[in-house]
Symmetry: C2
Amino acid sequence: MAAAPHRGSPPDSTLEVFGDAVAAAAARHLALSPAASMQELAEAAGVSRATLFRRFPSRAALVAELCEAAAEAFARAVEEAAPADGPPPQALARVLDALGRLAAVVGLLGLQPLQEHVEASLLARTAATEEALRDLVRRGQESGDFRVEVDPEWVLTMLTWLLVGAADGVRLGRLTAGSAQRHLAATLTAALHRPGGPPRHP
Amino acid sequence: MAAAPHRGSPPDSTLEVFGDAVAAAAARHLALSPAASMQELAEAAGVSRATLFRRFPSRAALVAELCEAAAEAFARAVEEAAPADGPPPQALARVLDALGRLAAVVGLLGLQPLQEHVEASLLARTAATEEALRDLVRRGQESGDFRVEVDPEWVLTMLTWLLVGAADGVRLGRLTAGSAQRHLAATLTAALHRPGGPPRHP
DNA sequence: CTCGCGTGAGACTTAAACGTCTCAGATGAG
DNA sequence: CTCATCTGAGACGTTTAAGTCTCACGCGAG
């Protein structure tokens, strides 16, 4: 009987990422339990299995749609943080702040086993975003703010997997969302910033 | 647990972790493809499905055994690095060196979806190891070598997931095993070490 | 040569999940 | 009131992979 419990103000940021409540609930459950069946996902979303199939033609389509929404959110967050603008340290801070808030939402979806072509499509969607982040790293290295010995590729790896780790730590109750976000930012900052002094512009 | 067929000189470090060649091959394939069927795993190991079932009574048993071997290797590597001995910076370096070499072997197995009780058993096995690592962090903080604002819990999270990330980066061809290991160590070191000066012992 | 052991091949049963379909009840608009 | 629509419940067929079993082959030991 509980179709759409629209109450006062849903503090749930997954909603705005995944569009509707069913998708959001399914995403949450799928993140905790990657092998969940359509039955389980329907229960988690509070609808019947039939309704879930009406909304998503197949399980693969469901997973693909959720992962694409997550990738989209990731890409938009980075874009809005404008990594190409202003001094690299500040740009990095903006990016980390934006991504930290996404951890709980999209982190664990990164673990989802995907079909080949879906994974390729996701990589294609985020390729430009990743390149923008690599550019930021290189820009900071040229300006003297960031360590030159850090591979931009490793920065992407850190970003991706520490996001997942933050989400997992929160899931296991080992970290709070706030502390995870702070530690994520602090770690990336420490890894990138040169220990000595910031810039020198000859 | 069958006997180990010791032949000439296997250059494959997965062998010594997983005991026999069948288990090692299955582990490698399972890491790349977490949803692989017994058919696929048998082919990857170069044996028939029947033989795979003779070696492992069920798929769950296979996954459990591989993950337990990985956890065992992780725990042993940390123990042998003696995190409680000597100055914290050196102890940390030993631990990171040992774990970096394990990345390719055990990293991706951490992603495996496990049954509840198996996961619990793994966590129980590694609890002491994790506590030893937390102790190392705290010891370094008390000695003034490490930043006090870093949560030991976050260090474990970083360690775990950057290990996975390193393995994944190598799998995707984005990083080489050597560079991944170096970056892993550099990142943890940068995240932990105090930027100013090492110790002060009043 | 012959025995015994392990392996590969493949048939078979079972279990679980996917995906389709139908039908009855609830709800809201006109 | 009536109709259109959406939903839940559940039956149903299909597929896929797990797990079991049998049998024939190869190979080394005695």
